[in-house]
Amino acid sequence: MVTPVIELSRIEKEYPGVKPLDSVDFAVRPGEIHALLGENGAGKSTLIRVMGGAIRPNGGSMAYLGKPVSWQSPKQARRAGIHVIHQELALFPELSVAENILVDAQPRNGLGLISGRARHARAAEILSQLGVKISTHAKIDELPLADQQMVEIAKALVGEVRLLVLDEPTAVISGHEVDLLFDNMRRLRSEGVGIVYVSHRLEEIFEIADRVTILKDGQVAGTGPVGDLTRDEMITKMVGRRLEQIYPARRKATATGPEILKVSNLRAGHRVRDVSISVRPGEVVGIAGMVGSGRTEVAEVIFGARDLDGGTIEFEGKRLDRRMPREAIRNGLGFLTENRKDEGLFLGLPISANVMAPDLAGVTRRGLIDRRGEREIALEQIRNFAVAAPSPEVKVGNLSGGNQQKVLFGRWSRIARKLLILDEPTRGVDIGAKVEIYRIVRNLAEQGVGILMISSELPEIIGLSDRIFVMSQGHVAGEIDGASATEEAIMDLAVRSIDRREGAAARLEQVA
């Protein structure tokens, strides 16, 4: 039995209220590509950070190259030969490729000074090993994301690497770039490097990985050689769980009437390739898909916060031309964003200000804010949504995540009478608040509001949606009826590799 490059035993990690890792065993052998699979929030990122020294586990042990270790810092892990490439790349945008690659190991000449020439030479050497054509003089922020990722990978190859961890590397690349990546992975594998490959693209896992470990809710749901599991078995292990009875009963009749929102062939940036969606009044339409599939970007375009490159958006039959959030709000749209702290809440302002934020006109009399009116509305919303706060003057920064989210519902439910877009509405919210939020969503739908709900929690999407669009890589992979949807069916669509298939098909055409 070969000594694993890294072996984690019974790793535990806990935060107040959540336990991302629960007695996880994980081992990577030298010369092995080990896939790490799991839905959003299963614990993959946490596990990687433990391996890479960014966080310390609360329990369990780790052995590296046969010896017990406990990393004090990411730098220590890196020095030892573990290199983690996160989804958020740690590059310096204004500096050159060469400088980024050699950030830790700038080559010096005889005088002890850094030699620019040697730096570029060494960087070019590594890049050619990877088979990429990137100018070492280019600045990072000029490069497309795929190239930036290659630079990160090149960084890993500077020193001696024994364990390479790739966190969803193919989220931003496609086609032949993926082939290039895989070729390099195979080459490293043959050199004895252990590779952890985190991805949700099952086709890719079958193509490149030797073994696979599946995480679900912080525990290992299955592990073994890739050949031992079928696609369906993998999906089942990723998602199979009992649906808790926390969703309001579905209405018998589905919503009818003309579509309130019709998106056709939407194209925007590199994340949204070709998306067509529709929503009817009173209907809850869920959008499922993995992180990076373009869901949030679609929402931003609909709301007017992002430009579109192609396709059309029709609202109540009319094309939406003036693209600004202000217009959207005026038309009765609302957008509860994914990052409430960065994009939604005014943390230093009280609840009342946060609730009234998009509708200042509603409480303005002759230029002045009607404070009493505002307070009353805020109180009403606090009551309606059961926000646990002593008064509307409390600053929202002091509320818990669940209550903050409810304040946001209080904000949008008032004025988004036509269409409400929700992006991860229960992220960072405890189970009690979640149930309440589900009820809120259901109520709004019954009042005739169209709801477009983006979520990474499959039970949630299935429990609430009348229809579900599943997105993958900027396309709509499929549409499923809410009542009969299963987690497996959704996941099946979400992990489909659409572009690769197109690329492969194109190549086949060329050969033929």
Partner: protein
């Protein structure tokens, strides 16, 4: 339930710290007044207090405006230069009666508004850092001003300017009344009007403000206009005080106004603060300066204390935010 990668924030309610935040400055000021009265019998004499207030008034006017700009994550370094330029411009009115005063005010406000608009436009639409944009404006105004005066101080003031600086209406100094008026008007705008609410939103979270239908650019430009208008009015009051108009009148006010605002709890990061507290900051600053003089300390001591205060105040507010 999706496990989180980062811990949830603890819910904090009303606490001792937030109470101190609201009333700490007032308490500090009261303590300061008591200490000052105890240390120096001259402090509470009416003549001294009037003196203090007269110095404080123009600075107070500037601070009212500066608060708006800081609230939207900006700075205005051009205020002092603008004050002096407005003062110089006022002397261009070769008037012989007090009737010129309203016209002078209008001209001052118009000029200041244009300056403020340019500042705001550079910051909002051209992405120039507020520091540099207002620094450049400061230098440009300086050049214009000196070119007009030829570098020499002007001693012929329009009649009535002296009245502004030291006159009284119904026993209340005019400059104080004007300050109060400005503070009330702009206080209402900031803390009670829709625009004021939008200002706080833009300063607190510009992206969220945009997503809630606010036009951040317009709001930002407006703040700079208000700041300049307040500074311009303040400049008129500095005019009559000394009897001549030097080219450097109001020097140092730009930094003092920032110091006073920071002491009053206006956060440089934007979205937090109120005018009343900023004016308290002015009071603290001016009283300390006055105390230093009354106690016979060298005037330079004022500078040292000012420096310590501003660092201390910023650190105090910062550590409590964390």
């Amino acid at each position: 339930m999706a496990p989180l990668e980062t811990p949830l924030p603890r819910s904090r309610g009303v606490s001792v710290a937030s109470v101190f935040e609201r009333y700490g400055l007032i308490v500090f000021l009261i303590v300061l007044l008591l200490v000052a009265a105890a240390l120096s019998p001259t402090f509470l004499r009416p003549a001294n207090l009037v003196n203090v207030l007269t110095i404080a008034a123009p600075l107070g006017m500037v601070v009212v405006g500066q608060t708006f700009v800081i609230l939207v994550r900006g700075l205005d370094l051009s205020v002092a230069s603008l004050m002096a330029t407005v003062a110089v411009l006022a002397t261009a009115f070769r008037a012989t009666t007090n009737d010129a005063i309203p016209m002078i005010f209008v001209a001052a406000i118009a000029f200041s508004a244009v300056v403020g608009f340019v500042n705001g436009w550079l910051v909002a639409k051209r992405d120039v850092s507020p520091f540099l944009a207002t620094l450049a404006m400061m230098i440009i105004l300086q050049g214009v001003r000196f070119a007009y005066t030829g570098g020499a101080p002007i001693s012929t003031l329009p009649p009535g300017m002296g009245f502004l600086a030291s006159g009284r209406i119904l026993g209340i100094p005019v400059n104080l009344m004007t300050l109060a008026l400005l503070a009330i008007v702009f206080g209402v705008v900031l803390h009670r009007s829709r625009l004021g609410r939008e200002i706080f939103m833009v300063g607190s979270n510009p992206k969220a403000a945009f997503l809630n239908g606010v036009a951040p650019d317009r709001v930002i430009i407006f703040c700079y206009v208000i700041c300049s208008v307040c500074a311009g009015i303040g400049g008129l009051f500095l005019l009559g005080y000394v009897g001549t108009v030097s080219n450097w009148v109001g020097q140092g006010y730009e930094l003092d106004s920032i110091v006073a605002a920071v002491m009053g709890g206006v956060a440089l990061t934007g979205g937090r603060g109120n005018i009343f507290a900023a004016l308290l900051g002015v009071a603290v600053l001016v009283i300390i300066n006055n105390l230093v003089l009354l106690l016979g300390f060298p005037i330079e001591m004022q500078l040292i204390i000012k420096g310590i205060i501003i660092i201390g105040a910023a650190a105090f507010y910062r550590t409590r935010l964390a």
